[in-house]
């Protein structure tokens, strides 16, 4: 088991958090959705695993490269 960081590829605002710690997620499944460049952009699990932590809140502004969640894979 390893814990991996899930980062945002883009600066934006956290619009919706759609998972919580303990949730099982598949590869490419959205953890949360950002609003950036007038688009709804998902931040997805790079690998299947269990959500360990969500490190942001809805409405927060996040910059490119920020760790938004941790995933146990």
């Amino acid at each position: 088991m390893a814990v991996i960081d899930v980062k945002t590829d883009i600066t934006g605002n956290v619009w919706k958090i759609v998972t919580k710690p303990g949730d099982h997620v598949g590869e490419d499944e959205p953890l949360l959705i950002l609003e950036s460049m007038k688009m709804e952009i998902p931040v997805s699990a790079p690998e299947a695993g269990v959500v360990k932590e969500i490190l942001t809140t809805e409405g927060a502004t996040v910059t490119e490269g920020t760790v938004l969640a941790r995933l146990e894979v």
Binding site: I4, D9, S36, K38, M39, E40, I41, E64, G65
Partner: protein
């Protein structure tokens, strides 16, 4: 003939075949690892291997008996019926470290592959330069730098490499010199071992952190595919080569088209959202357009806002370059640009036609991008797209803005540019344009009217009227259109061979 002489041949062959000896081979087997000969078996057509250098060993007399084949199994074989030159490192012999003899074996293979026109395959696992052989000025003078052609990679023939277990030194170099590299998860690829790194810079490093699979998948982009077993790694090398010609003077091989290769093209309409603010996974559209099961994505977790993949259309190899709106809205990061350039150079060098699917709001901007040298990478991209001489067709799926649209093969950087009716083309997103042109922000009085006006101007019809886009087609017509048009634009005068203007561009962008 003296019977003893013939027996001597057998005895010497048997000694070479012992590899690093039964104990080392057994300990590998116990931990579930495969050895060089087993890997070779997974890689090449059964019974096709013919060895060169079986009796080679260390040039140092004292090491001769302990270095069967000098640690590298070299020879020629067939993959899917086509000849390849192949080297599989035997880690049980001095960690497959680079010695004078195996250096000469490898050089001979590379040279032969280039001169005779066949792919070169290197299955890596190595410690690096052999010590003490390379030590001191005599060692250096003997071992390094005597072959000025060693790193003159000019994409004469396709190269494919694997990084298995610990791949330091030559195994890392060859992955980076290659057109394709695969890594088994749990392996490490780095310049040198953590022990040496710790001694050199006092930094205590973890193997995974130094060069584990996630490092290469997400941060370096030096490896194209990642698998769970050695057998799968060999299958990946075979699959990569199935898209490639044996050398740059030949077109890629054609495949028989399976009966179920064509999928229901209306499935594209289910993926492409109606709202311009909604994103989608371009990989799902790619999977529908190209022959079923033929899409072989490279560097999937690196620069993810772009997708590059080898695929087939009606049985013919094509390179697919696409934006993926699902990641950062399809905005092109420096990593995405590096990935595309690397791939586009490869396709152009090996006569593989290119299909581009465009949906990008532009290049990623901001301090981070500038510090990574974004303008330089964008110009490499522009330069690269301008040098493509294989047939290429650009499809505008949705957003096509600014310089990114041109670098993605827009304007006249293609044989034909077509668009779906969802296409929107402009210098920048209409929202930003409304603010800059009219000084209005979303929510201001008059913004909506001004936005609607500018938004209308971005529709594709004006571009079609002035014949700057050659056709507007329905998404579900794309597959048939591409097959027909790529046939129209075949390079008949050269027998399908491009000009290869970037053949000596770096293999690791």
């Amino acid at each position: 003939m003296d019977e003893k002489l013939l027996q001597d041949v057998d005895a010497r062959r048997a000694r070479a075949a012992r590899m690093g000896g039964p104990e080392k081979l057994e300990s590998r087997r116990k931990r579930g690892g495969t050895n060089a000969i087993e890997r070779l078996g997974f890689l090449v057509d059964p019974g096709s291997f013919i060895e060169t250098g079986l009796l080679g060993a260390s040039s140092l007399k004292a090491d001769e008996a302990a270095t069967p084949r000098d640690g590298k199994v070299c020879g020629f074989a067939k993959i899917d019926g086509r000849d390849v030159a192949v080297c599989v490192n035997d880690f049980t012999v001095k960690g497959a470290s680079t010695g004078a003899t195996n250096g000469r074996k490898l050089a001979h293979l590379r040279r032969t592959a280039t001169e005779k026109g066949m792919a070169f395959v290197h299955i890596g696992e190595s410690t690096g330069a052999r010590l003490p052989d390379a030590m001191g000025s005599r060692g250096m003078g003997t071992m390094l730098g005597n072959d000025p052609t060693q790193f003159r990679r000019a994409r004469d023939t396709p190269w494919a490499s694997a990084a298995l277990d610990t791949s330091f030194g030559s195994s890392a170099w060859l992955c980076c010199c290659s057109d394709f590299a695969v890594m088994r998860k749990g392996s490490v690829m780095a310049v040198s071992s953590p022990r040496l790194v710790s001694m050199a810079i006092g930094e205590k490093v973890d193997l995974e952190e130094l060069g584990g699979w996630r490092v290469h998948a997400e941060l370096t982009g030096l490896i194209d595919r990642f698998v769970d077993s050695d057998e799968e790694a060999m299958a990946e090398v075979r699959r990569f080569l199935s898209y490639m010609p044996s050398h740059n003077g030949a077109p890629p091989p054609e495949c028989a088209v399976a009966e179920d290769a064509v999928q229901d093209q209306n499935a594209i309409l289910e993926v492409l959202p109606a709202k311009r603010t909604q994103v989608y996974d371009m990989r799902k559209i790619i999977a529908v357009i190209f022959d079923r099961g033929s899409v072989f994505e490279l560097k999937a977790r690196f620069g993810r806002s772009a997708v590059v993949a080898l695929a087939r259309l009606g049985g013919r190899s094509v390179g697919v370059i696409a934006n993926n709106p699902n990641v950062a809205g399809g905005a092109l990061s420096v990593e995405a640009v590096r990935k595309i350039v690397d791939f586009q150079v490869m396709c152009d060098s090996f006569n593989i036609p290119i299909v581009r699917l465009v949906d990008t709001p532009g290049f990623v901007v901001g301090t981070d991008a500038e510090r990574k040298g974004a303008p330089g990478h964008i110009m490499n991209f522009m330069n690269c797209t301008s040098f493509v001489t294989v047939p290429s067709i650009t499809v505008i799926a949705r957003k096509a803005y600014g310089r990114a649209y041109v670098a993605m093969g827009g304007g006249r950087h293609n044989e034909e540019m077509i668009a779906w009716p969802t296409a929107e083309v402009s210098f920048m997103d209409p929202t930003f344009a409304t603010t800059i042109v009219h000084g209005l922000k979303p929510g201001d009085e008059g913004f909506e009217e001004a936005f609607a006006e500018i938004g209308k101007d971005t529709e594709i019809w004006d571009m079609a009227t002035i014949y700057s886009v050659q056709n507007v087609i329905k998404p579900q017509e794309t597959r048939d259109y591409l097959i027909r048009m790529l046939d129209v634009y075949r390079l008949r005068r050269s027998g399908g061979i491009g000009e290869h203007l970037m053949r000596n561009w770096p293999t690791s962008m």
